[in-house]
């Protein structure tokens, strides 16, 4: 097992624990926005899609990278916007 893999595993385990602690305190009323918010966070896959698009050299590579970019961009942009739209509604009605 390489040192790099061990470092990555450490990061993975700590991030799982951080996620557990951060999330378990959210009240049920915010669960749907939270699910949507968490859904946008895994849009970070966009960075991976950019990396593989940058390394692509074959027509198949370009085609698959294009689809991966489109999917990931939709996840990020749509996810954050729809979460913001939901949370916008939680503001108290101006009296």
């Amino acid at each position: 097992m390489s040192a790099e893999l061990l470092t990555d595993l450490t990061i993975f385990v700590l991030a799982v624990l951080a996620g557990y602690e951060v999330i378990s305190k959210v009240p049920p009323t915010l669960h749907t926005p939270l699910m949507s918010g968490a859904n946008s966070v895994h849009g970070i896959v966009l960075i991976g899609a950019m990396m593989i698009a940058a390394d692509a050299r074959t027509p198949l590579g370009y085609a698959l990278s294009f689809v991966a970019m489109a999917f990931a961009a939709m996840n990020v942009v749509g996810g954050y916007l729809v979460t913001d739209r939901m949370l916008h509604m939680f503001r108290a009605r101006p009296s």
């Binding site: 049920p28 949507s36 918010g37 895994h42 991966a68 961009a73």
Partner: protein, 471 residues
């Protein structure tokens, strides 16, 4: 490591911190929006930094840049449009679609990475995590699309069962495991990749099809967690820590949310996945053979009861969400308030189509946030309520849950039966999700108003205006 690369790595750490703090700020309605913006800011910084890194590093072909930007636009524009245009009642399926594309992207990423490095050879870590990423990402992609289809009504909401399902499923699971092991052992094999992709895609569809529409929120949440894990695996495969951190965060959060949802519905996650439960969204549920007599009422009688009450608690449920009657109920609440009636909404954790969905719907209809009370807060207040108005909620109000030995036993419920009188708006005596009679309906204090939620509330409001008027 070049200077640019070091800076980018530092920005990634900052982005990861933004995700954690952003999710933490979603704890409270007051900071939730800021939290989401912070998370979005972290994401934007990470994406920009990656862009700069790729530009300074060089080695990206011009076709590569075109593919990169065209793909981004092709995904961002429809995503933006859908997020802005979607009706709030259709939001659960949109979240499911966004989850699907995330999983699809994660799976493609590993597939492209494995194909691209086929000749040069890949490390054992990349092969194993890449295979896991493709497996999980593809299952969530097709599974989430089917879930979205069920929520939208394009795929029948009822559990779709077929003979020999168990055998087909078992064979597929074996094929899936074999494909993953094969690909991990021989990452250069296109055949292994094809077997794994195909088996995972079919598995995702067959996993969700037998699950009833009412269980879909639990499934969407579970698939959301799975996408997180797939993204973390993609991070291992391509050696990118920010993917590992963000993916693990989402995996943990989705996992907890799934369990909370299942608990609140008195279901276990394995039981949900076993499928075949519930009738889904059948428009004409089979009438339950209710024992005991049921008292019916009219919109006029109910209006008078509400109009002259001191304290009214509204209990909105799935029926209200399905009938899209959130604006009508909000108007009714405002009218009652104008008559100095104290109005609050009792929100069960799983009311609506997803946990918290009812809050979003009612907030969309401009119900002030302080009027929305969660279960623990509102339950002691029922005893002081003159009228509890139940709109399309069933199992979450069934007093039978307090006794052992039935399908809802132990489920957290709203203490609606403690109110001095109860009005239930419901289309029929049909059973809820648990498939048993609701003892609340045969309670002598309860009056039933059989109608569609939207029509019934409209009639109540009209009757209130003519009979009671503003006080």
């Amino acid at each position: 490591m070049s200077a640019a690369e070091s800076v980018v790595r530092l920005i990634y750490i900052g982005a990861a911190a933004c995700f954690v703090v952003g999710l933490h700020e979603m704890n409270s309605p007051a900071t939730a929006r800021r939290g989401n913006l912070l998370s979005a800011g972290g994401m934007a910084a990470a994406v920009l930094a990656t862009m700069v890194l790729l530009a300074t590093r060089g080695g990206v072909t011009s076709t590569g840049w075109i593919v990169l930007s065209a793909g981004a636009v092709a995904g961002a524009v429809p995503g933006m449009y859908a997020a802005r245009a979607v009706r709030m009642t259709a939001m659960p399926q949109l979240v499911s679609v966004f989850n699907a594309v995330g999983g699809g992207a994660a799976a493609l990423l590993a597939a492209v990475d494995l194909i691209g490095h086929r000749v040069a050879g890949v490390s054992g870590t990349t092969a194993v995590t890449g295979a896991l990423d493709i497996l999980i990402g593809t299952v969530t992609f097709t599974g989430s699309l089917v879930a979205a289809g069920k929520l939208q009504g394009w795929v029948p909401g009822r559990p779709l069962l077929y003979p020999g399902a168990r055998a087909v499923f078992g064979t597929l699971a074996v094929l899936l495991a074999a494909g993953a092991v094969w690909l991990a052992a021989d990452p250069a094999s296109l055949a292994a990749l094809a077997v794994l992709l195909g088996a995972a895609a079919v598995f995702g569809v067959l996993m969700v099809l037998p699950i009833g529409g009412a269980d879909m929120p639990v499934v969407v949440s579970l698939l959301n967690a799975c996408t997180g894990v797939a993204v973390a695996m993609a991070g291992f495969a391509i050696g990118n820590t920010v993917l590992i951190i963000a993916g693990a965060l989402v995996g943990a959060s989705g996992g907890i949310l799934t369990k909370l949802m299942a608990d609140a519905m008195n279901r276990s996650v394995p039981a949900v996945l076993a499928g075949g439960f519930g009738t889904g969204d059948s428009p004409n549920p089979v009438a339950g053979g209710a024992s005991g007599t049921v008292r019916q009422t009219t919109a006029e009688d109910a209006a008078i009861q509400l109009g002259y009450a001191g304290k009214v608690i509204i209990v909105p449920g799935y029926g209200l969400a399905a009938a899209q009657a959130q604006h009508e109920i909000a108007e009714l609440a405002r009218f009652l308030e104008s008559r100095a009636v104290e109005v609050s909404f009792a929100i069960h954790p799983v009311a609506g189509r997803m946990p918290g969905h009812m809050n979003v719907l009612l907030a969309d209809a401009n119900v002030p946030y302080p009027q929305l009370k969660d279960m623990d807060e509102i339950n002691p207040e029922f005893a002081r309520a003159d009228v509890a108005l139940v709109v399309g909620a069933n199992d979450v109000t069934n007093p039978a849950a307090r006794r052992p030995g039935n399908a809802v036993s132990g489920m957290p419920i709203l203490d609606v039966d403690q109110a001095r009188s109860i009005i239930v708006i419901k289309r029929s005596m049909g059973h809820g999700y648990a498939g048993i009679d609701n003892e609340l309906y045969t309670d002598p204090k309860t009056a039933m108003l059989f109608a569609d939620a939207k029509a019934a509330i409209g009639a109540l409001l009209a009757a209130l205006k003519t009979l009671a008027g503003h006080r």
